[in-house]
């Protein structure tokens, strides 16, 4: 055999081995698809029809997963899909989950739905894009997956075709998705930790599974991998809001210090210390306000066990005296009427700014966004008529001065904000 042939043979063998590895990494942990139950007569289908309790649980779980948020177009029929989701790799369109035969899940079997949820494959076996957080939903139990399926089956069918994804090459291709899965996807149902109590385990199941909190609040790497609590990476930014790390006691983690307040925030969208804004408002409106307080508390218990130790004192860059004086004047002029001269907020109307982690967290982007975007906390059953905040379109220098002053006032000692940061955040 010539040297060239041997080289070619070797290369082919390596390629075959890599392909086999990729295939194995993609298929491990995935049970063979269960066959469809035999065609049912009216009598047997009545006997196997889901009971009311299952349907109610399925509806609740759909809330916990906030399925409708992505799978409903603005102003469109619930769960009929079509919402465009911008990703760094292009635009993804969420599918139609209603039981329409041609454009929805009408022809799917329960086993195919479970495989999609837990293993990220479509009905035809093709790999789904990981904007659908099957990387989290893989933890969902079989009983819960079936309850979700029962809930989706009873929705009114809506005939609405989903546009194809508009992803840049090669991100949407099957080989690229296979490589992504091999790198980032670990299938497996949730296993309770016997050393922890029931609340912690319930919280873990909801946070890591259907809640898929870390999909936004866990950082991502350049290929969109990660999405794990405390996993590092770049925090996800949507619509110029940043999802602050939940494990950071100086950022969103600070909300976990008082679990009563945490539950109230997720239930109503606002407490005396915080108002939910940006993409999280959608989560509160569509998901957490509908969840049982015990579940919200359990999520807090679980998340609190992941808090990183507080960071040591940081070396602060010098604050500019002129900026502070200017910031103080701007606060008095624009902010104090609502948030109070001491940043104490107005109970039931405007959150306190003194001691507010959105003001002091290392990354100032949400503070800047809150000032420039304004808006309302989500309207919820617990807070149906929120007080709004105007959008303050301040010049860069004023915005930097105001933010710098807010981060130094009332005992805060967060780093100043420069005009360049303002420019980048806008």
């Amino acid at each position: 055999m010539s040297r060239r042939l041997r080289l070619l043979g070797g290369a082919l063998a390596v390629l075959a081995a890599l392909t086999a590895l990729l295939a194995w990494l993609n298929l491990r942990g995935e049970p063979p698809l269960e066959p469809d139950p035999p065609a049912t007569s009216a009598a047997t289908s009545a006997a196997t029809a889901p009971d009311a309790a299952t349907l109610q649980r399925g509806a609740y779980l759909a809330r916990a997963g906030n399925c409708a948020a992505c799978h409903t177009a603005p102003g469109g029929a619930a769960y009929a899909g079509g919402r465009a989701l911008a990703t760094p790799f292009g635009t993804v369109y969420a599918g139609n989950l209603t039981p329409d035969a041609d454009t929805g899940l009408g022809r799917w079997s329960a086993a195919e739905f479970r495989r999609a949820l837990q293993h990220g494959r479509g009905r035809d076996g093709r790999l789904l894009v990981p904007a659908f957080p099957y990387t989290h939903f893989t933890l969902v139990s079989r009983a819960d997956a079936d309850a979700l399926w029962a809930h989706l089956r009873q929705l009114p069918p809506v005939r609405q075709a989903t546009p194809p994804h508009a992803l840049r090459w090669p991100y949407g291709t099957q080989p690229a998705l296979a490589v992504w899965r091999a790198l980032y996807f670990r299938p497996g149902r949730f296993e309770p930790d016997p050393r922890r109590d029931a609340a912690w385990n319930r919280g873990a199941y909801l946070v890591e599974g259907l809640g898929h909190c870390a999909a936004c609040h866990g950082g991502r790497d350049a290929l969109g991998g990660g999405g794990r609590l405390g996993g590092g990476g770049t925090p996800l930014a949507i619509d110029r809001w940043v999802a602050p790390p939940l494990t950071d006691p100086g950022a969103a983690g600070a909300r976990l210090q008082d679990l009563d307040d945490w539950v109230r925030l997720l239930q109503t969208g606002q407490t005396d210390r915080a108002a939910v804004q940006g993409p999280m408002a959608e989560v509160v409106a569509g998901s957490t306000q509908h969840l049982h307080p015990a579940d919200l508390r359990a999520m807090g218990v679980y998340l609190r066990s992941h808090l990183a130790p507080p960071a040591g004192p940081a070396r602060l860059p010098a604050r500019d005296a002129d900026a502070l004086a200017r910031g103080a004047r701007l606060y008095t002029r624009h902010c104090a009427d609502c948030h109070g001269a001491q940043g104490q907020g107005a109970a039931g109307a405007y959150p306190a700014l003194a001691g507010n982690p959105t003001v002091t967290m290392a990354d100032p982007r949400n503070l800047l966004r809150a000032i420039t975007a304004g808006g309302f906390a989500p309207g919820t059953a617990g807070n149906p008529r929120p007080y709004g905040m105007p959008a303050f379109d301040l010049p860069h220098a004023d915005l930097a001065a105001l933010a710098t002053w807010l981060r130094a006032a009332w005992g805060h000692d967060a780093p100043p904000v420069g005009e360049v940061q303002v420019l980048l955040a806008r």
Binding site: R63, H290, A321, P390, W410
Partner: protein
């Protein structure tokens, strides 16, 4: 990324830290910073009124329900509540396109949107005189003819056929056309043509806007914007006659929500 916040330090450690840091800070920042509240700050209260809750609206729609005499943003004070409510729903649900409006309204309930609409509909504020017309006499004459008589050739009905003889609108869903900036009016006719502004189907204004030439739109907007608003102008209690075109916004106005009703169809209650 670690925040630079310190761990909660005991008072003695905090005092020591302050003593160490103060000289550095003092040299950099002689401004006196408001101190951390050692005792709870005095409670701060705000009025429990819709006017207070809806402060963000006023930034653009003005203390008098309008932004400025000749800006782009429309006056909303005194428009029919049914019309305003439909527009709030349209912004929230993507039938009208404005990022600020969509962001503000994205997660508000139907009931709250209706309250907002009623609040602004009930505002009775004086109108400022219109700005000088930015069109020549021929254009203004063309605009007036379109507004009062329409154009049978293009199958354009008169504006007054629906918006009332005084163009002050008609309850519950037809808005007045006077006291609005010219640029806003041109912008809306353009948005209807391109599908950027939509209403409940059949969308009569979209049909009309597509029958108008750009010159028509410009002329009618210039004439409307230059008209003074008559003192005491109020929307007519009802449409004077059936609409010349099928009009979803008029024929099937959005149902009035009951205050207790949640906004979105609730696919599931608590477990």
């Amino acid at each position: 990324m670690r925040p630079p916040q310190r761990p909660p330090a005991p008072p003695a450690a905090r005092a020591l830290l302050a003593a160490l840091l103060l000289p550095a800070l003092a040299s950099a920042a002689p401004t006196t910073l408001p101190p951390a509240a050692t005792t709870a700050a005095a409670p701060h209260r705000v009025p429990d009124t819709l006017a207070q809750r809806l402060q963000p609206c006023m930034a653009c729609h003005g203390a008098e329900g309008r932004a400025s005499r000749d800006g782009y943003l429309p006056r909303i004070a005194g428009k029919p509540a049914g019309y305003l409510y439909q527009q709030l729903l349209n912004f929230r649900d993507g039938r009208r396109s404005n990022a600020t409006m969509a962001g503000f309204l994205a997660h508000q309930t139907d009931a709250y949107l209706y309250e907002m609409a009623q609040h602004f509909a009930a505002l009775e504020l004086p109108h400022a005189p219109p700005p000088p017309a930015r069109a020549d006499a021929a254009q203004l004459a063309r605009g007036e003819r379109l507004a009062r008589q329409g154009d049978p050739v293009r199958r354009l009905p008169a504006c007054t056929a629906c918006h009332g003889q005084t163009l002050a609108g008609a309850l519950p869903t037809v808005p007045g056309l006077l006291g609005l900036p010219r640029d806003y009016l041109v912008g809306q006719l353009g948005a209807w043509r391109t599908g950027m502004r939509r209403a409940i189907a059949p969308d009569c204004m979209a049909d009309l806007a597509r029958r108008m030439s750009p010159e028509d739109a410009s002329a009618v907007a210039a004439w409307l914007a230059a008209r003074p608003v008559p003192a005491g102008a109020r929307p007519e209690p009802a449409l004077p006659q059936p609409t010349p075109l099928p009009c979803g916004a008029v024929q099937t106005p959005a149902p009035i929500p009951s205050a207790a009703q949640p906004a979105r169809p609730a696919p599931g209650a608590g477990r």
